[in-house]
Amino acid sequence: MISNSQNWQAVRDRCREYRRRILAISQTVPALHLAPAFSCLEIVDAIYNLLMRRQADGSLADGFVMSKGHGVMAQYVVLEDLGILPASLLDSYCQPHGHLGAHPDYGQPGIEASTGSLGHGLALAAGMAYADRLQGADRTTYVVLGDGEMQEGSIWEAIMMAPNLRLGNLVAFLDFNDYQGLGRTTETHPHFLPVSEKLTSFGWEAVDVDGHDSAEIVEAVQNRRGDKPFFITCRTIKGRGVSYMIDAPIWHYRSPNKEEYAQALAELAADGEAS
């Protein structure tokens, strides 16, 4: 469990390694969702490595749903690091003989829900959290949502429903990178902000954090009251870690060429020396 003695430098180093692994995989396929994975990387790392509890046998005691399914590369590399997802599976990502695709597929190691179509994960996670409570299971279900995804009506059905079910064991992260397919989320929907106040008025406990600050994320989740579903808006940067991916929508789905790959690795290395 986290404490003040947490080695945050080690957390940053780990996230840098995750980004390197994703970049390496990007060189094996023509396209993958790189920038959307980079924006939620610290969130997914914090959930798996700092928040989720372990069973006596070392397996995860809590649940996870990647509702913004296109962010799944962040989940794959963490699951690989935890020894849940074999490296051989990730090495065959999107290959004809492989079993891992660009969106999570229920039944693959560590994957608890099939997503990819947006707007499904929050209701799924709410159902899991409700079933856990009904069956007396001490389990928290974490779910990561995208900000574009928040425009799906089904998300708001689930937002309305979760407090009715008193789901204190449900924690929803919003990867608020302010980008969706055709532009900035806050331009598509100028009244999207303030989103935390909307959630609070719907009966959730809600806070805002810097989504690339692992300590802030962990502290916010651990300090929640726990009697209501918890919504944590994480301000993030799409493509975080590689300068040319920031503010450039093309990197939602493009793979870097050789030169771009080398530059990305160099920037990650320099960032490591600087921090």
Binding site: S117, A126, M128, Y130, L134
Partner: protein, 307 residues
């Protein structure tokens, strides 16, 4: 059918704590009210919100429960169709989606409340089973099987309330995935499902009076997985096969029987009677709207030369 579903679910739910019902502001009333009182944690009303109804059921099934989603068939199927496809079928979860008022049984409520295309949509989904019982007893048998035995997503298409008993003298019992002979005869066979089975039985009576021999009547209650062998045997052993269904002409039982007839080079006459491929802006009771679609006893009997 609605009441028998509710009483069966209540009885099963007393013994199986995995059974949960999630409704979207439409309740089967009757015994479900008792279920709600006795097991308030296992009755959820999402309100007028069908997408989260399906999503919650999927999440609960992923944690080992056996949820039933319940509302009017149009809202069970059409509104949350992508949730049914992705959450239930793609993930292959044991959730039963119940649609009350299949076909045009909500006659006066108009086209928004008529589930005329649900069988086509639901049978097209991988992993999905589709069951459409014809009367209260068959509803009970189907509900029992889906609650206790089924390991996959299913769609239970029900009529409304007040359907008569059609199966107490049936030649065979209900078996999921098998056609059910209600009457065994020769010459002519009627293939049907759902409450309109009542009309098929009346037509069989008329056929018997005309031909002087009993006609076959089959409840094809399980539309997926379809009993191809059973249907092929009927096609092969009768001179005339008549399909009657309360569903649009494409994608339902009639289409499937025609496919089978081609596959086995069936030599029988084959006639299909279904709802029209139209939205009918006419009202009245259930029988009135069926008649407007050409599905009255008189209209079919006339076509078959039984009048």
């Amino acid at each position: 059918m609605r009441n028998r579903f509710a009483s069966t679910f209540y009885e099963l739910g007393q013994h199986d704590p995995r059974l949960v019902v999630v409704v979207a502001d439409i309740s089967p009333a009757g015994s479900i009210a008792k279920f709600r009182e006795d097991f308030p944690d296992r009755f959820i009303n999402t309100g007028v919100a069908e997408q989260v109804m399906i999503g919650l059921c999927a999440g609960m099934a992923q944690r080992g429960l056996r949820p039933f989603a319940y509302t009017i068939a149009t809202f069970s199927v059409f509104r949350p169709y992508e949730m049914i496809r992705d959450d239930l079928c793609y993930q292959d979860l044991p959730v039963t989606v119940v649609g009350i008022g299949g076909g045009v049984s909500y006659s006066t409520l108009g086209g928004t409340h008529h589930a005329m295309e649900d069988v086509a949509l639901m049978t097209s989904l991988p992993n999905m089973s589709v069951v459409a019982p014809c009367d209260p007893a068959e509803t009970e048998a189907a509900t029992r099987w889906l609650a206790l035995n089924n390991q996959h997503p299913a769609y239970l298409r029900l009529g409304k309330a007040g359907e008569p008993d059609l199966t107490s003298e049936a030649a065979e019992a209900f078996t999921f995935g098998r056609i059910r002979h209600l009457r065994r005869g020769r010459g002519t066979a009627f293939l049907t499902y759902g409450p309109i089975t009542k009309t098929a039985l009346a037509l069989a009576d008329a056929e018997e009076r005309k031909a002087g021999q009993p006609a076959t009547v089959v409840s094809v209650h399980t539309l997926k997985p379809l009993d191809a062998d059973g249907l092929s045997a009927v096609l092969a052993s009768h001179d005339q096969v008549v399909v009657i269904e309360e569903h649009v002409p494409h994608g339902g039982l009639g289409s499937r029987v025609k496919e089978l007839a081609w596959d086995i080079r069936a030599g029988c006459d084959l006639q299909l009677f279904s709802l029209k491929d139209e939205f009918i802006h006419r009202y009245g009771n259930h029988d009135d709207v069926l008649a407007a679609h050409g599905l009255s006893f008189a209209a079919i009997a006339g076509e078959l030369g039984l009048l």
